[in-house]
Every structure is written in structure tokens, then in C-alpha cells.
């Protein structure tokens, strides 16, 4: 058990060093969401009627988008390990080789905290005014971490399964798409019924609604009271279930890929 913990710590340290030095993907993960934030706020935002200033409405969704970009880099890092020599060497050592996946997940969590902070900073500079107290902040960050955790494991699964870096980076399109068809940028009741069904019931929506309710509670469109509590519960259940599913599938696929 101690050996397992030591291996996990060692490999998490590795993951963090690799992430920190992958300047390109670090910039992509921080800058692209900022560009999208600015674009939505200043280009589309004026035309969108959401009942409050658009930056207030859109920032929680942008944060989730950031997590998605970060996850794509994780998929590529895992793919690199799988197709390179690293996994073979680890498997020939007395190391539980699956801990290398945990290392990538830890690195992704830390990286996303940083890129998320950057996006928050820019959002604050252009008028995002959270009304949250300390407890709400902790809750919001907690839900975001759960979401990042779940989406990172899905990226790990992609990284274990695919056989080329291109396929791994293709994952970006999928995770980019999810927040668009949710309440991230427009209230779901403005969508056609058939799309609304998907948007209301996909996991990104309760996560965004929860973060919105916690950070800018009281603004139009943000859930409060029982609605917030129900949404938060749903968000936590979604994230936990997806994490268990994807982590399990990743471990299974990892053990079988030779």
C-alpha cells in the first residue's frame, strides 16, 4: 500500500512537470477559453437576452469549456505514454503500472485549477462580479474539480484506446461541443424542444447551473434554494458516476492493451 502511494506520488510529480513544461497546450488551455469569453461577451453577448449582463451569465460555462480543453491535452499525454516505450518499461518494473494514469489525472486537476483561475481573472476584469461567500466559493470549486476529474478520466480512456496522437486530439471536438448544447451560453428554454431534451439532461447543464447558483446567486437565470440544492446533487451524482465509469473502463482497457 505504501509502495502504491509512493508510486502514485512519483508519477503525479512527473505528470505535473510534463504539464508545466508543455507550454503550447498550457497556453491553448488558458487562452482559447479567454478568447471565447471575450467573443461571446462583446460579439454575441449584446444580442443575447439572458436577463443579466452576459459576462455574468456566460462565465461559469466558459470555465467548463476550459476543463474540456485541458482534458484533450491529457488524452494526448496518455496516448504518448501508451504508444511510446514508457508503459512497457513501467510494466517490467515492480510498479502498479496503472498508477501512471492516476499521475495524469492529478496533473490535469492542478493544471485546470490554474487555467480556471486565469479565466476567472479575465472575467472579473471585464465585469464578472461573483456574489459568492467563502462557502459558496468552496462549493463551486469543489463541483468544478469533480467535473474536471470526471472529464479527465474520459480523456484518459480515449488516450488508452486510440492509436495515434491525431485521434487523441480529436477528442477536443467532442468535449468542446458538450457545453454549447447546455445552459452554458443561452438558457435552454430558447432551444427547440428536441434539443432542449438533450441540453436539460446532459451532465454539463446541472454542473453549470450549480456553479452559476453558487457564484452569482440572485442574478436572473441562476438557481436558488431548493432548485440549487437539487441541481448540485444531480451534478455531484453525474460527476461521480462518470468518473467511476471512465476510471473503471480506463483501468480495464489499460490492463488489456498490449
Amino acid at each position: 500500500m505504501t509502495a502504491l502511494a509512493t508510486d502514485a506520488v512519483t508519477l503525479a510529480g512527473r505528470g505535473l512537470r510534463l504539464v508545466r513544461r508543455d507550454v503550447d497546450s498550457m497556453i491553448t488551455a488558458a487562452v482559447l477559453p479567454v478568447v471565447i469569453l471575450l467573443m461571446f461577451t462583446y460579439v454575441f453577448g449584446g444580442a443575447l437576452e439572458v436577463g443579466t449582463s452576459y459576462v455574468t451569465y456566460a462565465t461559469p460555462g466558459i470555465i467548463l469549456l476550459t476543463a474540456g480543453f485541458g482534458a484533450a491535452a491529457t488524452a494526448m499525454a496518455v496516448e504518448r505514454d501508451m504508444s511510446g516505450g514508457m508503459i512497457d518499461r513501467l510494466r517490467s518494473m515492480p510498479v502498479a503500472a496503472g498508477t501512471v494514469l492516476v499521475g495524469h489525472v492529478v496533473a490535469s486537476l492542478v493544471k485546470n485549477l490554474l487555467t480556471t483561475a486565469v479565466v476567472f481573472g479575465v472575467a472579473a476584469a471585464i465585469g464578472f462580479r461573483p456574489t459568492a461567500g467563502p462557502l459558496e466559493w468552496v462549493g463551486a470549486v469543489g463541483v468544478l474539480l469533480l467535473f474536471v476529474h470526471a472529464i479527465t478520466w474520459s480523456a484518459v480512456l480515449v488516450g488508452v484506446l486510440v492509436r495515434s496522437p491525431d485521434a487523441a486530439s480529436g477528442f477536443t471536438f467532442f468535449v468542446m461541443f458538450l457545453p454549447y448544447v447546455s445552459s452554458a451560453f443561452v438558457p435552454v428554454d430558447t432551444m427547440p424542444t428536441w434539443l432542449r431534451g438533450f441540453a436539460e439532461h446532459q451532465p454539463v447543464t446541472p454542473v453549470i447551473e450549480t456553479v452559476r447558483g453558487l457564484l452569482v446567486g440572485g442574478t436572473p437565470g441562476a438557481p436558488q434554494g431548493d432548485a440549487l440544492a437539487d441541481g448540485a446533487l444531480l451534478a455531484v451524482v453525474w460527476c461521480a458516476a462518470l468518473a467511476v465509469l471512465f476510471a473503471g473502463a480506463s483501468t480495464w482497457a489499460f490492463a488489456r492493451r498490449r
Binding site: 513544461r21 508543455d22 516505450g85 512497457d88
Partner: protein, 343 residues
């Protein structure tokens, strides 16, 4: 600890019998190993020599616990490969064809990480990393990210990463494929040092010269079977003796010299070269040269040739290995069905 009694003697560190492995399913199932028997003794270097697709990498992957064989059994460092895989892993190291180091970590970080994963305490891991950097001539580059290293430096670091724990048996899968001649020489030096310190080495290579340079014993693998095994000198003896080669100016001269030495007159594209077997002794060679002198013909060039592993491969498998000679020119390239099968 219940070490399996080593088969074939106390000093045997790798003993494999009847290893079989096939990949794919159903009608696409392709046998890669078709009953491989191998023995590596303590402190020795065994070179598994063969062309692409012969089954070298698959053999290494089985012996280093990465994949289980379909049939056959093996003990490595005294433990059964399948039953006691965990114990085997504590005693071996694998340096595969693909470099297993992170380009975005420095040389020191890579080695430190491997030492920690081999469960050395922090301080010991740091010391070991520095020792290895020194031993492999990488101290000056230790703080640089590996992405800035040359191909030869990366290979050396990769090899060092396999030595953090001083393994009993080291598996090296084609350690110099793709390296320029100078880096290859440097790699050989490093490998010799490692072996001198008592590590038994299981090496695969497609370079005959590499096997000749490094190995105490050579196993020729072809089509998933070991075609022949023995010391390099022993294998060469099986193929033939030392030969005197004489290159003449004209085919007429060649005919006269051949007649004088009592060997068949050469024909074909090589009709100006006369080859004659000798016992390799000074007296024997002098006698042959005297015979040439009596014909009054001066050869343009003459050469005493010891059989190379190239000759061995050709004689024992009926086709040439894909190889590179000392001069760096490719010789004996022949496509075979098995080469299309990835190991």
C-alpha cells in the same frame, strides 16, 4: 522465497523452453514464436540475432513479463515467469526499442523518477541518478530537458534508466538500431561496462557485427525458431574455415590460378575472384601463396577471410540476414514473407 531450482544449472539466469506465441484471431492468427528454447548464463551476454519479424521483440516481451506465452515455460532470475512475475520484475530491467524517457523532463529527473519507482529511498535515488549520469557521460547535460539531447544521448539515458536497481538480468531490444556508427560504438562501450559489473545481458539485434562485438553466445532466430546457438567463434567454425581470396586482373588469370591451386575455375559475375580454403596457419597460407607465385600471375588484391556471422546466417538459414557491414553498406537484403509480420 521459493526460487525455482534453476534448470540447466545454478548459473542459469534465463531458461526458456518451447515458447510459443501467436497474434491475431481466427484465420488471421499469425504465429510469431514457434517453440523457442534459450539459455542465458550468469554474467554472460546472449545475443538474439535475426531479421525483422523473426520474433526477437516478442521473445523479449515474454521474458520481461509484458505478455504471457501461449505455451512453453521460462524461469528468469530463478523465478517462474508467469507464476512469480512480480519477483521477476524486481530482478530485471527492460530497455525496449522505443526510448522510455520523457522528453520534457531533464536527464536527472528521468533517472530520479525511475529510481523512485524502483522504490529506492529519496536520497539513494538522487545518489544513484548522479552516479549513472556520471557513468554514462551525461553529467553536463543532466539539467537539460531530454528533448534537447542527441539520439545517442537519449539511448544512453534510456539504458541508464534501466540500471537504477542494478538488475540481475537486463533485456536490451535493439539498442543501436537507428544510431550513427559513432554513437553505436559509444553504446557498445557502455554496454560492455554494464556487463563487466556483473549484469547478465539478453540482447536482440539485427546487426551481425553487434552480436559479434558484444555476445558470448549468439542465438540465431528465424521464423519464430532458434535456428542455431553457440559462441560466435563456434558458429563460424560450423560454417567453414578461413579462406584465401584472390582478385585477378582477368578471367584468364583467374582460370590459371584456380587450376594451379586445384579449385574450380570461378564463373559468373565473380569470375575474377578465386577462393580457396586454408587451415589458417602461416605454413598453409604460405604454401598457397607460393602456388600462386609459380603461375607468374600477380593478383590485384588478396585477402584472408574469416567467416562472418553473415556467412553463418546464410549457411544455417538458407538466406541472408538484413545487416550492415563495417563499411556501412547494406548487404544481403532479401525479402521474406516473415519480414512482413510485425513481431
Amino acid at each position: 522465497m521459493d526460487r525455482t531450482p534453476p534448470e540447466g544449472g545454478r548459473d542459469v539466469v534465463v531458461h526458456a523452453t518451447g515458447l510459443r506465441k501467436a497474434y491475431g484471431r481466427g484465420r488471421d492468427r499469425v504465429p510469431v514464436l514457434d517453440g523457442v528454447d534459450l539459455t542465458l548464463r550468469r554474467g554472460e551476454v546472449l545475443a538474439l540475432l535475426g531479421p525483422n519479424g523473426a520474433g526477437k521483440t516478442t521473445t523479449v516481451r515474454i521474458l520481461s513479463t509484458l505478455v504471457a506465452p501461449d505455451a512453453g515455460r521460462a524461469t528468469v532470475a530463478g523465478f517462474d515467469l508467469v507464476r512469480d512475475a512480480a519477483r521477476v520484475r524486481e530482478r530485471i530491467s527492460l530497455t525496449g526499442q522505443q526510448v522510455a524517457i520523457d522528453l520534457r523532463q531533464t536527464g536527472r529527473e528521468n533517472l530520479w523518477m525511475m529510481a523512485r519507482l524502483a522504490h529506492l529511498p529519496r536520497r539513494a535515488a538522487r545518489t544513484r541518478a548522479d552516479e549513472l549520469l556520471e557513468a554514462f557521460g551525461l553529467t553536463a547535460a543532466a539539467g537539460r530537458q531530454v528533448g534537447t539531447y542527441s539520439g545517442g544521448m537519449r539511448r544512453r539515458l534510456d539504458l541508464a534508466a534501466g540500471l537504477v536497481t542494478r538488475p540481475e538480468v537486463m533485456f536490451l531490444d535493439e539498442p543501436t538500431t537507428g544510431l550513427d556508427p559513432r554513437s553505436r560504438q559509444a553504446m557498445w562501450e557502455v554496454v560492455r561496462d554494464v556487463v563487466a559489473q556483473g549484469t547478465s545481458l539478453f540482447l536482440t539485434t539485427q546487426y551481425l557485427e553487434e552480436a559479434d562485438q558484444l555476445a558470448d553466445r549468439v542465438a540465431l532466430i528465424d521464423g519464430g525458431r532458434v535456428a542455431a546457438a553457440g559462441g560466435p567463434a563456434e558458429l563460424k567454425r560450423q560454417v567453414g574455415q578461413v579462406r584465401l581470396e584472390l582478385e585477378l586482373a582477368t578471367t584468364d588469370d583467374a582460370g590459371r590460378v584456380a587450376a594451379a591451386l586445384g579449385v574450380p575455375v570461378p564463373g559468373g559475375a565473380d569470375a575474377r575472384t578465386v577462393r580457396v580454403a586454408t587451415d589458417g596457419t602461416l605454413a598453409g597460407v604460405r604454401e598457397l601463396l607460393a602456388g600462386v607465385e609459380r603461375t607468374g600471375v600477380a593478383p590485384r588484391r588478396w585477402d584472408l577471410r574469416t567467416p562472418t556471422l553473415d556467412d553463418v546466417f546464410l549457411a544455417l538459414t538458407g538466406h541472408a540476414a538484413r545487416t550492415t557491414t563495417r563499411a556501412g553498406t547494406a548487404t544481403g537484403e532479401q525479402t521474406r514473407p516473415a519480414e512482413e509480420v510485425a513481431a
